[in-house]
Subunit: 303 residues, 4 copies
């Protein structure tokens, strides 16, 4: 498959969408990002890399971090994790408190409530949570320069009223073991990590490489566990647009409000795409369009 | 892959679950089914068939019919269908009115509200809806003896207070064009079709055969459209257990309260399984267990 | 208290509101009513009557009928009625299905779901439900010419998708004993009764006369039961504007989408007001304004 | 009316309920209260006082404070207050976040969310909020020894996850102007005030005395405004049991989880009752029973 040519064709075709959507502006650090950026990077199981655009510019990965934190926690707790967080699509906006009030445990680890519980499990089980988490992300992406952006994390925490509401509700229901402030600080730090498309694409390759077990630093997952994380990405990875993404793109993936998306084609490749303008559901406009065209033109999808 | 041996191993392993769960008993015709039945049938793209148990006993396919009706309607309306029904997981029980009251259009074609809208579109566009629909199902499964069970359909309609509530709500919101009674009669008839595992497995093979376009009688779908139907099965096919099924089994599929499930592994096979005892979510206990073991033992899943 | 002078002053003051709001137009029979009509009639415990405007024009009482049906059913079932319908304000729009789906019994007898259950109880206990109900309304208002408008009732039934949905949901939950169609036909007939302000004002006088027991035809209520019906009017009589009406007017009352409102001041008077234009909550704009001014100018309210 | 005799009769009749219900135990300071206490105190407009039981024992007034804070804020903001808080019954449990998520402003000032907004308005407008608020309560009850219980307030704040969630949600929606911690500290302090039945009964007398304007320290309300506060007590004063209380007792009132209730009969009396054991809705079992018997035996209610 001539992925390089396909990327170039895709780029021509998505240019008309370049000014659609709106950069996340709920904190200044995100609002000031230049909206007119785009990058896409495919890394194949065989080891090839195909890139187009700004693939080496680090950006705020935001909710994409939830895949890393889930992998870490799942490697520690195994199926016991599912006693504290579900694995069903949420059916409502990603930050909805309604489901939480009715059902007590978050529907899945990719809505904020679920990721906050996952952060709580890591705080309980890791010796040096901040260092250990960063180390894992650096190891899996093979880039030791990846780091937290503490200014972004602090800014998120300051304006994080909704997530603070969620954390308090979880605590009320007995589903947070650590101090609320500590959990939120760690959660926002996880989201503040900055990575490039190249970093992300490489970091997700082990999820595409589903025939091998997963061993990165202290994080060990069986092939079956990796597949199960992919399954959760498929049904829950795009807020309340998971069905739409599955329909249009047909690959498991995870998006973030920084404008990044990483999708994986199990057995073939990992692809990271980034463009800061978001649609009304909080997903990158050009990112989704590019991935839709990728699976259309390659005629490759899991379905 | 020695599927026959795997089926036999699976059967040994799921025997302990043989008496778990409860047959659907909301209408007499379903309640009187012998609960101690089990059958599984794999049909591969290459044309091989592997069977175990009661694979030739017809049973009520119930909600599995929603895949056929979606395929038929999608072939007629294309993407215009999505103006009247969504494609997001529902996040609540399959018959919930709450979402409908808040959002006006059904979340997806596999909850009852969505399938009732789909039935309405077929009533509007088919010359002889009942005959045409049956003919399509007979053609796709290659079995001309397949038929409606009119006693089951009448019984469902008589006790169908919840579905009648849903249909009235849809009519109130302007999302039904035909007479409510006509739509419900057709909808229940679609659900009443009786097929065996062998029939179902064959009827779903075109969904597994995603490289080819789909041409059965009057129903024509592109390869891309077939994949998209698979994507919807993946995110929405199991009521509010879609995430769990995706996690455990990792294949797109659709279940029915008659105890049947059909899953497809795009590019490989279609598999039908049937056992009448249901779990609390309305899905076959042995059916889900068998499929979980199938993808575990073959190490084959879309993820 | 010079009520006549006060009514005239009020009329001057509410004239500017004469063209605000919108006549109910969901059925033709209501939509064709001349919107520029207004009448108000006070009947005191002492026996005096004060009128202004079109007080002898009959109009569709619609939901005001729910007070009569509650009185009738309560006289038959006593507190057993509360096993099938609650007495708490609904907190959502009057026809919401959400509460019903979550709680199974209607929150109160003045939302549609509750009134449909009440109609069902009357169908079960009255020998000739239609005749008996009409006879009761004629007796309590002292006007033997009051009648159903069968054209309105038929028209409501034809377009009554939402109420049909509600009735089916009640049946599904086992909270309707009679045939759905029979219950709805009777319910819509009750709502179709036409009365003038003078009729209504007189018919509600026994609710104001809370020191006496209530004996009209076959309907017998203790003074305590009458007070309790007033209490329910106070907390539930105005759809999701009950709090606002209580705040502005301070009297128990009941409104209908025909533009009528009847309020009672226990120990003093009953007041009926009618003007067809409705606010966004379905209550008469001029009606609410007139009653607000009445209690403001007389400085009389239950609080 | 021989209120003293009636109180004694009531006490005999409610004794069988003395051990029903459960003391609020969500914080130690409330859990350790002796549950077997009961007091009732009637203060009439004419100036007479009737008492029975422990009418001079101070207890935690908790949510009853919401009437005082509403009165204070309403005297400052007038109808502008209603831009930030509604006046409709909530229809769900008093601490529900669901309505808040859907509607953004609290339904009424007597659910926690509403009272937190009211506390925020006082913080914004009072020079010395803590001192001013306490001074108002002391003035209206005529007891200068009334005080906050800072241990209870601190304990509530420490365990106040649900209220912290609510406050964060309000802040997120732009409906809190002050620092969340400051608002919550002030809110919990207001709830921690300790008063006896005698104090409460006297403090609510101005609400019963609806013919006079209200002037206590800096708090000035017109007769009309006092009536409107009574109206809100009637429709919203008892969490999701407001309809039931209105039905059984027929007076406006407000309850607290400390086991206190104060009701007013406009034009006649104010009555405070206290008994710590609560029903499942959070209202005093013996308190509600005593008030039901009071209006039954005196045959006096607003209806």
């Amino acid at each position: 498959m001539n992925y390089q040519q396909i990327l170039e064709d895709i780029y021509d075709e998505i240019k008309p969408y370049a000014h659609q959507g709106k950069v996340a502006d709920y904190i200044p650090a995100l609002a000031k990002v230049n909206p007119d950026q785009f990058g896409i990077c495919i890394t194949t199981i065989k080891g090839d890399t195909y890139t187009l655009g700004q693939v080496d510019t680090p950006f705020s990965i935001q909710s994409i971090t939830k895949v890393f934190s889930l992998a870490y926690s799942f490697s520690i707790l195994g199926d016991m994790l599912w006693q504290r967080v579900g694995k069903e699509p949420s059916g409502t906006a990603f930050n909805s408190l309604i489901q939480l009030e009715v059902e007590n445990i978050p529907r899945n680890p990719f809505i904020n409530a679920g990721a906050i519980v996952v952060a709580d499990t890591l705080l309980s089980h890791l010796k040096s949570p901040e260092e250990d988490y960063l180390e894992f992300v650096r190891t899996i992406s093979g880039n030791p320069r990846i780091d937290y952006n503490r200014e972004v994390a602090a800014s998120e925490k300051e304006k994080g009223y909704l997530n603070t509401a969620i954390a308090n509700l979880l605590k009320y229901h007995g589903n947070l073991n650590n101090d609320i402030d500590d959990v939120l600080r760690f959660y926002f730090l996880q989201c503040s990590i900055e990575m490039s498309c190249r970093d992300l694409s490489k970091a997700f390759l082990p999820f595409a490489n589903h025939k091998c077990a997963f061993h990165f630093g202290n994080v060990h997952l069986t092939a079956s566990q990796v597949k199960r994380i992919n399954a959760i990405m498929q049904t829950c990875g795009f807020y309340d647009e998971a069905g739409e993404f599955s329909y249009l793109v047909g690959l498991p993936g995870k998006s973030g409000v920084g404008g990044g998306i990483n999708a994986v084609y199990p057995g073939r490749y990992s692809v990271a795409v980034w463009s800061p303008r978001l649609n009304s559901k909080g997903n990158s406009v050009m990112g989704i369009k590019a991935l839709e065209l990728l699976t259309t033109r390659t005629r490759e999808s899991i379905f």
